[in-house]
């Protein structure tokens, strides 16, 4: 069962990408992107997890207690913020596209092509 977290991470990445490709609405597409990105959180935390390890906070546990890997948590924190900001920029672009060109369907984009 110890591969389950990894499998969930792979699943979220793939289902997110499938969602993006089949999306018919830009807001839906943006949320699918965030699903795909959340796969990396699960992957990182699964890699850092140690059975029996506690959270790496020594406020109420003695020094030397086995803890889970704190480095991946710091990485995941950064990743969470990045996701929120990319979402913000994409939504702003979506709002502008919808306002100016009256479409939220990604398949109607492509004024310049070929």
């Amino acid at each position: 069962m110890s591969v389950l977290p990894y499998l969930v991470a792979v699943w979220l990445l793939l289902i997110g990408i499938v969602g993006i490709v089949t999306s018919r609405h830009l807001v839906h597409l943006v949320l699918c992107l965030s699903v795909a990105q959340s796969s990396t959180y699960v992957l990182f935390l699964a890699i850092g997890y140690r059975p029996g390890g506690t959270a790496p906070i020594f406020a109420d546990i003695p020094a030397g207690t086995p803890v889970v890997d704190p480095v991946v948590q710091a990485l995941t924190l950064t990743d969470v913020v990045v996701e929120a900001t990319v979402t913000a920029v994409l939504l702003a672009l979506t709002v502008q596209v919808a306002k100016r060109f009256g479409t939220v369907d990604p398949n109607e984009l492509g004024a310049m092509r070929g």
């Binding site: 140690r50 924190l77 900001t85 100016r100 398949n107």
Partner: protein
Amino acid sequence: MSGRARLAMVALAGVALAVVLVVAVIDLPRPDAPPPRSAKLSTSVALHERHVTNIVAGITFDLRGLDTLGEELILFAAAVGVSVLLRAQREDSTMQDAADAAEQRRAQVPASARALGAALAGPIIVFGAYIVAHGQLTPGGGFQGGVILAAALLLVYVAGQVLALPTDSPVDLVEVTEALAAAAYGLVAVGGLIFASAAMTNFVALGVTGHLLSGGTILILEVAVGIEVASALTLILAELLDQALLRST
């Protein structure tokens, strides 16, 4: 590409990727493997040499402080970017329309709701500030507290307390605050270069592990990040909100 062709392609690619990725993750070390040496070192350095009890905060704001600087700048760039992307449009429609709509909206919000918003905002701000300031000790910190602060500010905004002011000045104020908070992080990094040996090195007394004023520059950075996150998110939400208000005219 037609929808069906695209679906077929992504299905094929997905199956292939799934196989490869599953084989790859099965190869990864199992959780009973000993933790990496760098991780163990980071834990003991953060606890004993940086005097923080929340190891993640120690790593985020010191050992890997450069990542966090980058992260703050991503937030900063996104906030500036969102206002660049949305403002051009706001200038198209007259500001007066927006102000009128806001005024109208304010009138629609029942007085009791406004009072509730104002009453709730205070405690939420205190709570957010608490989370920001204790990041080096317990879970939480600048980012989490900053989002809570932004929510409180938005509550004030929606409750109609701020809309009585001229429309652009609060947004300008938030913009300036946001930029200065981002600058503060950079200045702390430069401070390390001036007052200590290397960029980002702590140059403030470390304090006693477990006390509120411990961790040296980490507390300063937590506060800078808290302000940065709160103002950046407020800015983003305010720009989107203005857009939403414009529609109702």
